[in-house]
Amino acid sequence: MKNETAQSARGHSWWAYVVLLPILLIVGVPFIWLVCAAFKNNADFFTSVLLPRGEGFLGIAWDRITLDNFRALLAKGGFARATLNSVLLSSVIAVGATLFCAMGGYALARVRFAGRRWVQWLVMAALVIPPPLLLAPGFELLYHLGLLDRMLGLILPALAPAFGVYLFQQATHSSVPKELIEAARLDGCSELSAFWKVGLPLLQPMASAFMLITFLGVWNNFLTPQVVMQSPGQFPLAVAVAQLKNTYYQDYGLLMAGTLASIVPVALLFLLLQKDFVAGLTSGAVKG
């Protein structure tokens, strides 16, 4: 019986490899291409698919591998500033949105207040509106509020996404039993302290996952900062990398180095928080 189970487990893993390997290739090849391109000069960029061929180890011309692209990147003063902008924007929005979405979702799931059903409908309605549709009216609103070309103009609208509120509402239903909040209220908690002391710790796996998703989303967002920000000093990385493109001449090596430099921090963050991320996505799926 035990052997059969082990055998079937091995069978499953074999099939998993068959399915996952082509997917890995599809996802991985462009990334490998990007990494290689970042370390080549412009001439090699057009003549070799991956690394330049030569007489060196594995038939690769190692002497032509260059860090010039990264040097050029650092030499451009705007890039460091853009990295800082991205870190700032992504961190503030990730922490703020997680907190506000958790509070909103928790309130919709566990606090009784007048008009709760209407708010729920509003959240659901907001979910079905594609974000690009809101660009023009959002732009006008920010213009009237005097928030164009300011960090706050990017931060404020991103602080309570409907998707996050909905996500935390569902997570509260599955992970924060009603009785626990009632017990907390009897034990001396106000609504807010019941959320802080009992609700939020139980929502922590979801909060970690959501924070990571939001961080990645803001880091990679190109469209909104491109529309809202006008001064180069305010650009986040995604926009700054796009600015490396030239109208008459493309330095692809530089462009790829910029792209790689913008990917590495989030990739590291993801690897670091991977466990929490998966736990958050599957929280509530299994009772017990």
């Binding site: 039993p177 009632e182 017990a183 009897l186 139980l202």
Partner: protein
């Protein structure tokens, strides 16, 4: 410690369903009161209104002389033990117990001392560093008790706290709970649908049905003198037998002569009830007779029962099923169209299909007005009669 007063307390949900209707009761300081009733009778809602977890639609709640009807749960100074214990899963046992103190700003040293005291009292010393997921059901129950006890509340509220435990652990925890209450004497309100639990724990029991308190009395009074047919049927194991009856003859007016009887016809045959039975009934009126299974006399058909004498009536029947419980047996006996349950001392001849005689002792007969909530008109006046049947067996 405090007296709890509920005045005309009611609760109607948004859809118009009235679950609690005009509950009036006073639970004296230090008393253990049980709210007993079937599912949906409003007992848990009443408890939750006392806790402040449910907003009342009308009436007042006074705890220790202070009107707390509109007060927040945290400002009522009540502690509650939930059915599923509601322990904070991310905190250790010690942190769970200390939580109410921390919320009230008690300093760390006092918190640690109180947690140690409670842990010793409830034998939780070894478990203080564990989280709830590492505890058994009984241990979780004790931690929940500890969390309620630690801040010395005015009132303890229990919402079916033993229902998740197995039968053996339930009996043990019930004993512990009783001993604990005897020691701390904190006013307690306990909700259950288990009447044995209610009878064994309570100083007084409030039997609820349809959002209304049917009777609020000591366990023995409830058993001896149920106020109506519902209480009579709900309190006592096994449940009381009922049979519809029509008055055929009755002694004249009030102050009947000694020995005057009420004669009724039932599906079990004609019955002669004792003097003063069925107060207010006239010839031709319909009523319900009740008798507890433990009071019924069952004899083998060949043995015979003296019809005149202590029995109101004797019916012929056939044993439909016999549930052997050991010393005693539960017999379902078919007497014509009526089935009667009797709990009697086990005898060899008792088996399905066996003909028997069913005797109904006159002193044990109850008379109720007709209907499921029919008022008790007579019965139980003389207190507990001589033990017979299962009671005698238990005493033997």
């Amino acid at each position: 410690m405090a007296t709890v007063q509920l005045s005309n307390l009611s609760k109607t949900f948004a859809d118009g369903t009235a679950v609690v209707r005009g509950v009036d009761m006073t639970i004296p300081d230090g008393e253990f009161c049980v709210l007993l009733g079937p599912s949906g009778c409003g007992k848990s809602t009443t408890l939750r209104m006392i806790a402040g977890l449910e907003v009342s639609s009308g009436g007042r709640i006074v705890i220790g002389g202070r009107d707390v009807t509109d007060a927040e749960p945290k400002d009522r100074d009540v502690a509650m033990v939930f059915q599923n214990y509601a322990l904070y899963p991310h905190l250790t046992v010690a942190e769970n117990i200390a939580f109410p103190l921390a919320m009230r700003g008690v300093d760390k040293a006092t918190r640690a001392r109180k947690v140690r005291e409670i842990a010793t009292m409830l034998e939780l010393d070894e478990l203080l560093g564990r989280v709830p997921a590492q505890l058994s059901g009984g241990q979780r129950q004790r931690v929940a008790m500890g969390r309620a006890l630690v801040r010395d509340p005015k009132v303890f509220l229990f919402d079916e706290p033993l229902s998740n435990l197995d039968a053996r652990l339930r009996a043990q925890t019930r004993r512990e709970l009783k001993a604990l209450h005897a020691r701390v004497r904190i006013t307690s309100v306990y909700v259950t649908h288990d009447q044995e639990e209610a009878m064994s724990l309570a100083d007084k029991v409030a039997v609820m049905a349809g959002g209304v308190i049917q009777q609020y009395d000591s366990p023995l009074e409830l058993f001896r003198r149920p106020t109506n047919r519902f209480v009579a049927g709900f309190v006592g194991t096994p449940a009381m037998n009922f049979v519809e009856a029509r008055v055929e003859a009755k002694g004249e007016g009030k102050g009947q002569a000694a020995g005057a009887q009420m004669v009724v016809t039932t599906d079990l045959g004609r019955m002669r009830l004792g003097a003063g039975s069925g107060d207010g009934l006239k010839v031709g009126d319909v009523c319900t007779l009740g008798i507890r299974p433990t009071a019924i006399d069952v004899r083998r058909a060949v043995a015979g029962i003296e019809e005149e004498g202590e029995h109101a009536g004797v019916a012929q029947g056939v044993i439909e099923s016999c549930d052997l419980l050991g010393e005693v047996s539960d017999l379902w006996i078919r007497c014509g169209t009526q089935a009667v349950l009797a709990r009697v001392r086990t005898q060899d001849w008792m088996r399905s299909g066996e003909a028997c005689l069913v005797g109904m002792p006159r002193a044990e007969m109850y008379v109720f007005e007709p209907g499921s909530m029919g008022k008790r008109l007579s019965g139980g006046e003389s207190g507990m009669s001589e033990p017979r049947g299962a009671v005698a067996a238990a005493l033997a």
